[in-house]
């Protein structure tokens, strides 16, 4: 009987009936600098796919800007342009553009900086993860940009970012190919051994693991709502122990896996997670954004601070266009626990937040 009660409590807690989950998350006090980044007169930031700082405080922004273009050539149509990668110093002063006129910068999805200060960009449309060294030279590429696109893409969503042959063929829906062929990938993270984890993504519904040289190891997940399945994988982070945190916005949860992809637990009561960040150090904290979609500025939008066991420390912000409000947060940098860089798609800006 005692065992039964313990089990019942565990079930109730897992179902969200726990005391902690019922009490509202405390509001955390914070300030914002919405105009940290200064642009040259002839360059405009667009929608912020990703923002990240390196060990020196240099800030990288991968942004959807310019003109996504279809060129008419042979019977095939070629797509190019639409995103750019900019570098700023720690004070927000513009330094330079990286990868100007790149073959593959189309729909900026994320930028992350690894412990060696390499710059990793994820492009949702070109369907690749590209590791650039600190000078901006590409040194490792996962995935490949599709050669051409269908016009019109009457298949609708996914028509532009399809990664090529082998996409889930014969397998479970969203499981993808056992390789680095992505379908609208969204994010990248690393463990302490340098293994690479890719969130794949909006078209597929899986996490793919590669070694530090980019050799495919395994992938897990398919489309669904069961533990280990995803509606989509919108962001990813890896803690110091090698556990993998995969944001599953469509199922309103973050799933936690061990380093080999075995499901461990789910973090809930944080809305639909659109962006994730893990602080460095020994007492790691997780920031997660309940990102409002661009068509709704009247609900959601807040960011949660969460312990790795899923306990919610507090939340801050809401959807809106004023400073300290958020418009579809797609990226959080939390290299310093109480100083965040937040990139917004719909508001086309980066805010530097200071938690009090």
């Amino acid at each position: 009987m005692k065992r039964f009660i313990t089990l019942l409590c565990a079930v109730l807690a897992a179902a969200g009936f726990g005391v902690a989950a019922q009490s509202p998350a405390p509001e955390l006090m914070f300030d914002s600098n919405p105009s940290l980044l200064t642009m040259p007169d002839d360059i405009y930031l667009g929608e912020i796919g990703g923002v990240a700082a390196n060990s020196k405080g240099d800030i990288y922004v991968y942004t959807r800007t310019g003109h996504p273009t279809i060129s008419i050539g042979t019977s095939r149509a070629f797509a190019h342009g639409g995103s750019r990668l900019f570098q700023f110093d720690r004070t927000g002063k513009f330094v330079r553009e990286l990868g100007k006129d790149s073959y593959g910068m189309m729909v900026a999805q994320q930028v992350r900086i690894d412990p060696q200060d390499n710059v990793w960009i994820v492009d949702q449309m070109a369907g690749y993860v590209n590791k650039l060294d600190a000078q901006g030279r590409p040194v490792l590429m996962l995935g490949r940009k599709p050669e051409s696109i269908n016009v019109p893409a009457n298949a609708g969503r996914g028509g532009g970012g399809e990664g090529g042959p082998g996409r889930g063929r014969g397998g479970l829906p969203g499981a993808g190919a056992q390789s680095d062929v992505f379908n609208r990938p969204t994010d990248v993270a690393w463990d302490s051994a340098g293994n690479i984890f890719v969130a794949d993504g909006m078209g597929n519904a899986r996490v793919a693991k590669f070694d530090s040289k980019g050799v495919f190891i395994k992938s897990w997940g398919s489309r669904g709502a069961e533990p280990g399945m995803f509606a989509n994988v919108t962001a990813i982070a890896v803690d110091a122990q090698g556990n993998v945190y995969a944001a599953d916005a469509g199922n309103k949860r973050i799933q936690v896996f061990d380093n080999s992809g075995t499901f461990k637990s789910a973090i809930t009561n944080v809305g639909a997670p659109g962006a994730l960040c893990l602080t460095p150090g020994t007492n790691q904290m997780l920031y997660v954004s309940n990102s409002n979609p661009p068509e709704d500025f009247d609900s959601g939008g807040e960011i949660y601070k969460v312990r790795l066991d899923g306990t919610i420390v507090g939340k801050f912000g809401k959807a809106g266009k004023r400073p300290k409000e958020f418009g579809t947060v797609n990226s959080i940098d939390c290299r310093t626990e109480n100083t965040l860089l937040v990139g917004e798609l719909a508001n086309m800006r980066v805010q530097k937040l200071t938690l009090r």
């Binding site: 642009m39 007169d41 002839d42 360059i43 405009y44 930031l45 667009g46 929608e47 942004t63 959807r64 800007t65 310019g66 003109h67 996504p68 279809i70 149509a77 797509a79 639409g82 189309m106 729909v107 949702q124 449309m125 696109i149 269908n150 016009v151 019109p152 893409a153 009457n154 298949a155 609708g156 969503r157 028509g159 532009g160 970012g161 609208r184 909006m202 661009p294 068509e295 709704d296 500025f297 009247d298 809106g320 266009k321 004023r322 719909a346 508001n347 086309m348 800006r349």
Partner: protein, 349 residues
């Protein structure tokens, strides 16, 4: 037979809404001609550059002229009050793809309405990005075939080929939206949705729209809407309740409200693209009105020649005696000097 006759107007209406370029002769009678001259070579282009379709024109408080035009890419250029080129604004901006309107607010912020990206963007007086309302669909969704059939349900924060923007004295933002919604939307100064009039569906009742193509707000906070395919202008109160409609001025292409304590409304019965048979002689003119709707005069006519109009798409009337017009077809901006005239009620105010 009676039933057959009764259905005729409905058929005509459907026909006209399927052809938004169809033009209508104004029915207002005995309107005085306002003499004017067009300033030769007003705008001086940057070396090696030319204007495209001059879709949007606006001035700021210093008399600088902003032209939002469809070039190889849609571009926004600033000229000084003498027409000398100052600079380009928004080069490569993600919200520029297919120009529809540029307007300048009372603080000299510059606002663009882009129907190719479904965005309304606020730039500072020196051209820095400040705020965007609306959202460009991400390219990853691919090239989408042009949709025929019923419009999708309208959404508070998503536009469908929006057309124009204006503000009331409190700074609330009003957007006419557009080619594939048929509504007017009100936001507060921070871009938060307040109210809408109309919906995605076209209609001809007061408070319904069929291609709301231009919009401005007067000093009382009343909203003037050029309701193009309904061949009328509608005047709304500040809460978007319909007050009046003006059906005698031809096709409502675009509207302008002058600055200052005594405001005038300018309304353009723009001639149609291509100047179809029967349209040359009786379209193309611009009307000048009092805020109460009294028509004071008219000027202009359809013509490809300098001084005439070849599809006026937007007017600036900050100074009611200096009208700047942007035209679609002749890829030009003209500055018109109107001969000042006393208003009918001006002396008593």
């Amino acid at each position: 037979m009676k039933r057959l006759l009764a259905c005729v107007p409905a058929v005509l209406l459907a026909f006209s809404s399927a052809r938004p370029a169809a033009q209508q002769k104004a029915t207002v009678q005995n309107v005085a001609e306002i003499p004017y001259t067009s300033v030769p070579n007003f705008l001086k282009m940057p070396a090696g550059e030319t204007l495209g379709e001059a879709i949007g024109v606006a001035t700021n408080s210093k008399g600088h002229v902003f032209v939002y035009h469809r070039s190889a890419n849609t571009r926004l250029w600033e000229f000084d009050k003498n027409g000398a080129f100052v600079k380009e604004i928004g080069k490569g901006y993600y919200g520029f793809e297919f120009a529809h309107s540029v307007r300048v607010d009372t603080q000299d912020n510059i606002w663009t309405v882009d129907e190719g990206t479904n965005t309304v963007t606020k730039f500072s007086p020196d051209g820095k990005f400040l705020m965007v309302i609306g959202h460009r669909p991400p390219a990853v969704e691919g090239a989408v075939a042009t949709v025929f059939g019923p419009n999708q349900p309208s959404q508070k924060y998503i536009f469908c080929r929006p057309t124009d923007v204006g503000w009331d004295p409190q700074g609330n933002i009003f957007v006419s939206d557009g080619y594939c919604n048929n509504r007017v939307v009100k936001y507060d100064k921070d871009g938060r949705f307040v109210a809408e009039s109309g919906s995605e569906k076209a209609g001809s009742e007061p408070g319904q729209y069929s291609l709301p193509h231009g919009l401005q707000v007067d000093g009382r906070g009343h909203v003037w809407v050029a309701d193009r395919t309904n061949n009328r202008y509608q005047e709304l109160d500040n809460d978007l309740k319909p007050l009046k409609q003006y059906t005698n001025l031809g096709t409502g292409w675009t509207v302008c409200v002058s600055a200052g304590p005594h405001q005038y409304v300018f309304a353009s019965n723009s001639n149609p693209n291509g100047n179809g048979p029967g349209t040359w002689a009786n379209t193309g003119e611009i009307y000048k009105m009092e805020l109460d709707g009294t028509v004071l005069g008219k000027f202009g006519h359809a013509s490809k020649d300098f001084g005439g109009f070849q599809v006026v798409h937007m007017m600036d009337c900050r100074n009611p005696n200096e009208i700047i017009v942007g035209e679609i077809e002749s890829w030009r901006v003209q500055k018109l000097l109107l001969q000042p005239q006393a208003s009918k009620t001006g002396s008593s105010r």
